[in-house]
């Protein structure tokens, strides 16, 4: 067994469909043991990247290594150690949930026949589907199919789990359960690579993330790096923006946060008030000290807070749009 530093590593990975470049030269590095969020709007190239990692699609350019071995050349060695959910679950509608898992497990020639039944029922149990094991899949709800798809990745202990939009179609309770499941998988030492177009569904469980936008990788790193560590900023709502900026500058705060200040959809904002933002940087000031200084400077403070840039803010800034936008 190889002990490469990265569970997945790509270099210049590119996929073109005719004239369209679905994945455009991405250099991804997924550390072993991480829970890695692969984020991006619909159509940004996440699934296509995942298909290339799993050998379903041949790259137009560039290379992929999974668990230290280059694919597609070493796929037979790599894939038994990987569990994957790709572009949603897919099953034989005329077979029961358990029969479907049984069928897919036989496809792996290294999977032991003698433990198959036990492994199938353990996997169903783990995703809470034991009660529906004997039901035909055509009678499953979307959420049940999604769970069954996740169960399929758990038929054997895996070093790497690739989960493409695992919370699609799940209710909030199901989403919480999937998060819990991902946490427990990570705790047992697996690397989990999870894609989503909904940041809020996974940002609480990821240790690392990468952001895709229109086929390009626009950011990657630990979650703190992505948030911009220590990048808290002061947020003031006031009809006296000029005075507020002067006061803040006098306190040693930096310039406005340009990406966020462009946002005009702030509900707290009324006709004559403006939003003033200033990164706190390394300055160690209590919020009340800043408010006192603003009032002493004659600034009419109508709203005040000290906030960390949310990941959502970062991603909106990176992808240039909201997260649900279809390109």
């Amino acid at each position: 067994m190889t002990t490469a530093e990265f569970a997945i590593e790509t270099a210049g990975l590119t996929k073109r469909f005719g004239a369209q470049t679905a994945v455009d030269g991405i250099d991804l590095a997924v550390p072993r043991g991480s829970v890695f969020g692969f984020l991006g709007p619909n159509g940004s190239g996440k699934t296509t990247s995942i298909r290339m990692m799993l050998g379903l699609v041949a790259p137009s350019n560039g290379t992929v290594s999974v668990l230290g071995r280059e694919v597609p050349r070493h796929l037979p060695d790599v894939l038994p150690r990987v569990g994957a959910l790709v572009e949603g679950p897919a099953f034989y509608p005329f077979l029961s949930g358990a029969a479907n898992l049984h069928r897919l497990d036989t496809a792996d020639r290294h999977a032991s026949s003698s433990t198959r039944r036990a492994r199938v029922s353990a996997a169903l149990d783990r995703v809470g589907l034991s009660h529906a094991a004997g039901k035909k899949v055509h009678a499953y709800s979307l959420g049940m199919k999604q769970r069954l798809g996740i169960a399929n990745t758990l038929l054997a202990p895996r070093e790497l789990l690739v989960l493409d939009e695992p919370t699609n179609g799940l209710d909030p309770q199901g989403t919480r359960e999937v998060r819990g499941l991902i946490r427990s998988l990570a705790d047992s030492g697996s690397t989990v690579f999870v894609s989503s177009h909904l940041l809020t569904e996974i940002d609480q469980i990821c240790t690392h993330a990468a952001v895709m936008s229109a086929g390009r990788l626009v950011a990657q790193g630990t979650l703190d790096e992505l948030r911009g560590a220590g990048d808290a900023y002061v947020r003031v709502l006031t009809p006296d923006p000029y005075a507020a900026r002067q006061t803040l500058r006098a306190l040693g705060l930096g310039l406005e946060h340009p990406a966020s200040e462009r946002r005009t959809d702030d509900p707290a904002r009324v006709a004559d008030t403006e939003l003033v933002l200033a990164p706190l940087g390394s300055i160690d000031l209590e919020p009340e000290t800043i408010v006192a200084a603003l009032i002493a400077g004659g600034v009419r403070v109508r709203g005040f807070s000290v906030e960390r840039a949310s990941l959502e803010d970062r991603f909106v800034a990176l992808t240039g749009e909201g997260f649900d936008v279809v390109q």
Binding site: R51, L54, G55, L56, V57, A58, L75, P76, L79, P80, V82, A84, V86, E87, G88, P89, A90, F91, Y92, P93, F94, L95, H102, R103, L104, D105, T106, A107, D108, R109, H110, A111, S112, S113, R116, N152
Partner: protein
């Protein structure tokens, strides 16, 4: 040493699991069973129609062997085969072979089989063996149902062969099984063609229709005297040439010619299917 052989033993055992699973999924599907029922209906219809009609068929009219049925029920099976060969059997084979890869693609299960990993070449081989198993079962269903229905509705006795010799019932049934084997082999080339079409598309109905159309078109070409030079190369060329198996002494020559031709088609379309399937992007 012993543990190593245990490991390879386990590996070999589970390597067959996919084939076992494929066969069980194929033959448990309602669609497969409907196809087999339709095939079983052919000898039943023939036998019942003959039994009900007061005047037996005149010799030389209708399908070969039909005029023999009233004297000997054993001929129902082989008569039904002759009726089924041009269209019904290729149709069912087209449905099953056309579905092999395209059906998995349309369900989306192809990606999960490959990621499992089934191995592309292994999956293709398993799929082909499944289609071939269907050919065996389909032909047997016609012959066995025919023989049973024939025995129930008509007298059964020693069979007079085309060479004029008479053989006992047991041997006659063995001859009919040999014909069943012949017809099964005849369908293996078409199965490979269906497998290839199935790797070209994610729409199973398309692959099925292409396979069936191909079979019909080939038989039309085979019927055109202007294309005589082409005829020995058509996979349907020997489809009805199993009369040799009803002579005394039995001649296996046409069986061999047919088998050789089918092996050629299997090799050609198997290679095309493999070439296509090993390199194709799985986007379903």
């Amino acid at each position: 040493m012993s543990s190593e052989s245990a490991v390879t033993g386990a590996r070999r055992a589970s390597g067959w699991a996919l084939l076992v699973s494929e066969l069980s999924v194929l033959f448990r599907r309602r669609r497969t069973n409907a196809l087999l029922l339709a095939l079983a209906a052919i000898p039943i219809l023939i036998a019942v129609a003959l039994r009900l009609s007061s005047s037996g068929p005149r010799a030389g009219r209708g399908p070969p062997f039909l005029d023999q049925v009233a004297q000997n029920g054993l001929f129902v099976g082989v008569t039904a085969l002759v009726v089924a060969i041009p269209l019904f059997l290729p149709l069912t084979v087209g449905v099953v072979a056309g579905d092999t890869i395209a059906g998995e693609a349309s369900h989306g299960t192809l990606r999960y089989l490959l990621v499992a990993p089934a191995g592309r070449a292994r999956l293709l081989a398993v799929k082909y063996i499944g289609a071939a198993a269907f050919c065996v079962v389909a032909v047997l269903v016609v012959v066995v149902t025919g023989t049973l229905v024939g025995a129930a509705l008509f007298p059964v006795g020693p069979v007079t062969l085309l060479s004029g010799d008479t053989i006992p019932v047991g041997e006659a049934f063995a001859r009919f099984l040999a014909i069943a084997g012949y017809v099964t082999v005849s369908l293996l080339g078409l199965s490979a063609i269906g497998l290839f079409f199935s790797t070209l598309t994610d729409v199973p109905v398309g692959a099925m229709a292409a396979t069936i159309t191909f079979s019909v078109a080939t038989q039309i070409l085979g019927a055109l005297p202007q294309l005589e030079g082409l005829h020995p190369w058509l996979f349907s060329h020997y489809w009805l040439a199993f009369a040799d198996l009803l002579r005394q002494p039995i001649s296996w020559e046409s069986f061999g010619d047919n088998a050789l031709l089918q092996v050629g088609y299997i090799a050609l379309f198997g290679a095309l299917a493999l070439g296509r399937f090993l390199t194709r992007d799985v986007l379903s």
